[in-house]
Amino acid sequence: MTVEFCGLQLAHPIINGSGTFDAIAARRAFGAAVDVEFPFAAYVSKTITVEPRLGNPPPRLWESPAGLVNSIGLPNKGLAGYLTEDLPELARLPVPLITNVMGSTAVEIAQLVEACDERAEISAIELNVSCPNVKTGLDIGADPRQLEEVVRALRPRTGKPLIVKLTPNAADVAACALAAEAGGADAVSLINTLRALALTPVSRGGPSVLSSPRSWLGGGTGGLSGAAIRAVALAQVAAVTERVTIPAIGMGGVRSVTHARDLLDVGARLVAVATESFRDPTVGARIARELDSRPSPPLSYGPA
C-alpha cells in the first residue's frame, strides 16, 4: 500500500506524530531492531528550535481519563546541536526524515527552514505553529491572517515540502488550513494537543488542603493527547480536508487500524500514531500491516 505524499514515495500511510517517538533513544532501549523493523513510513523529528531548550520543570505528565496531559516544553539541542549530533543518527533510519521546527519570530523560523533546506538528509519540513506570537500572545497558528503571512514568507526559502502542523486551539481550524494553503504550504498536519490543565491532588479534609487550586504540571498548562481526543481529531480532519486541496496528515487518539481507516476515510493522506506508541512502540507497524491486508471476503454458503 505505497502512498505518494508531496513527491515522497512512502511504503505505507502510517507515520509518527512529532515528539512521540525518539528514534535515537529507542536504539538505546531496543537496539538494531528499531532500524530493521522501523514502524513508520516516514520519521518526524521532535520540534527543533534555534536555541537549545531544557524543557519545562517536572512534573511533566498527568494521566487523564483515556488520555495524557503533558507539559514537556520542547526540550531539544537547538538547531546547531540537531544538525551536528542528531541528524547523522536520524539519516540512518530506513525512511524519509521530516524535521519539525518552531520559531518565535519570523527571523527564527526563516533561519530554521533555510538550515533544513540545505540538508539532503531532510526530505520535508514540518512547521510547529503552536507558539505564541511574542507581541500578541496569540498562537501564530491560531490566527489565519498571521499564519498565511508566515507561510508566504517562508515559501521561497525552501524547495522541500512544507507541512504546517495546525493547532486545534483555534476558533476555526479549517480557516487556518486554508490560510496555510494560500501561503503556499504543501500539506497540513493535525491535530496537535488540546490545551489542558491538571490540578495537584489535595487530601480532602486533611491538613494539607490548599487554599487555591494549583497546577500539577511544572509548566502550568499542558496539552491533552491520546484516545480521549480521537473524536475531536476526526471532526477537525474532516473539516479541513473538506476545504483544502493540499494533502493532510491526520492524527489524534489513533490506537487501531479502524481508527486509521476513519481518518483516511475522511480524507487524510497519511495517518500519524502518537501517544499510542508510548503504550506500544511497534503499534505503527501493526496498523500498517493491518491496513495492507484486504478485508476478508464474505463467507459463501453454497456453490458459487
Partner: protein
C-alpha cells in the same frame, strides 16, 4: 521450567545495557505472593532477555486496563524487576525466565495490577533502562531501600552474591510493620520503621549513618521514595561515599520518547529516568525533589 530459588542475575561485563525486544509482549502470571502490604507478581517471560539488575519493565494488564477510577489507568506503569529466575532449559542463553515484580496499591494502575491472579495475562515492555554497576575498587556494598523501592535491591543482592567476592549489607526502611514484611524479599536485612512496629524506630538513613560511621569504605546502592533518596544522596556527598540511586518517576513510555520522567541534573538540565537511569550516579544529580519525575500523575 524454573530453576528453583537460585536467581540467575549476573553482573554485566560493563558492555552496556541489555536491550528489550522491540514491542510489548503478552505474558502470563504464574503466581502472586502476599508480602504484608505488598504483592509479588510472578510472571513467565519465556522470550524475555535476562534483565540487568536495576532495569525495569512497563506493565499493563491485558484485560480491564482502563475503565477504573476516573477512566484510568491508560498508560502502562514502570516496575523494577525484583528477581529473575532463569529457565533451566536456557541456562546457557540469557533468554527466558520468571520475572518478579513488587507491587503496592497506590493508584488505579497499581490497583489493577495487584488484582491479577495466576493464569491472567499482562503486557510487558522491557527490560529497559540502565541498571546498577558493580564497584570494582574493593568497597563493600551497602544496599539501602525504602518501601516498594526495595525491589531492584533484591535482584542486585542476587547478582552481588553470584559474584561471590562482594559482601553486602542491606538496610531497609518502611512506613510500618505490615510493609516491613517486604524485607523478606532480601536476605539478612536490617529494618527501620517510621512507627517503630518493626526494627529500628526511625528512618533507614539512621542505620546508614551508623554503617558509614563504622566503615565508610563502601558504595551505596539505594532505591526508595524521593525524600529518602535525597537524604542518602546528601549523606553520601558529605562523606565522599560513591552512591548509585535508582529513581522512580512517572513515565508514559519507558524508552525515551515522551520526555516526561526527567530529574534535574547537577550543573543544569535534566536526565531522563527511563534511558539515562533509572540507576543514576548520585554525583550526576542535583537535589532530588519531592515529586521528582511526578509519579503522582501516573500511578
Amino acid at each position: 521450567v524454573i530453576d528453583g530459588p537460585v536467581a540467575a542475575a549476573v553482573i554485566g561485563a560493563g558492555s552496556g545495557r541489555t536491550t528489550a525486544p522491540f514491542g510489548r509482549r503478552l505474558l502470563t502470571v504464574t503466581g502472586v505472593d502476599e508480602l504484608g502490604a505488598y504483592r509479588v507478581l510472578r510472571v513467565a517471560d519465556p522470550d524475555g532477555p535476562m534483565p540487568d539488575p536495576g532495569q525495569f519493565a512497563m506493565l499493563a494488564t491485558a484485560e480491564g486496563w482502563g475503565g477504573g477510577e476516573d477512566e484510568r489507568p491508560y498508560l502502562p506503569r514502570a516496575f523494577s524487576v525484583a528477581r529473575w529466575l532463569a529457565d533451566r532449559r536456557s541456562r546457557r542463553s540469557p533468554i527466558g525466565g520468571e520475572a518478579h515484580y513488587l507491587m503496592e496499591d497506590v493508584g488505579p494502575g497499581t490497583r489493577r495490577l495487584c488484582e491479577l491472579r495466576a493464569g491472567e495475562e499482562l503486557w510487558a515492555l522491557g527490560p529497559l533502562g540502565q541498571g546498577f554497576t558493580a564497584s570494582r575498587d574493593g568497597r563493600r556494598a551497602l544496599l539501602v531501600g525504602g518501601g516498594v523501592g526495595i525491589a531492584p535491591l533484591a535482584i542486585w543482592q542476587d547478582a552481588l552474591e553470584c559474584e561471590g567476592t562482594l559482601a553486602s549489607t542491606v538496610l531497609l526502611g518502611f512506613r510500618d510493620g505490615s510493609r516491613a514484611k517486604g524485607a523478606a524479599l532480601l536476605r539478612g536485612a536490617h529494618i527501620a520503621t517510621d512507627d517503630g512496629t518493626a526494627g529500628h524506630h526511625g528512618f533507614v538513613t539512621d542505620l546508614l549513618a551508623e554503617e558509614l560511621e563504622r566503615d565508610a569504605h563502601a558504595t551505596v546502592y539505594a532505591c526508595g521514595p524521593p525524600r529518602m533518596l535525597e537524604a542518602v544522596r546528601a549523606m553520601c556527598a558529605t562523606r565522599g561515599v560513591p552512591a548509585q540511586l535508582a529513581l522512580e518517576a512517572g513515565m508514559a513510555c519507558g524508552f525515551g520518547a515522551c520526555y516526561g520522567c526527567v530529574v534535574p541534573r547537577r550543573g543544569g538540565g535534566y536526565l531522563r529516568v527511563c534511558v539515562d537511569g533509572p540507576v543514576i550516579d548520585a554525583a550526576e544529580l542535583a537535589s532530588i525533589e519531592e515529586h521528582a519525575g511526578g509519579a503522582g500523575g501516573t500511578r
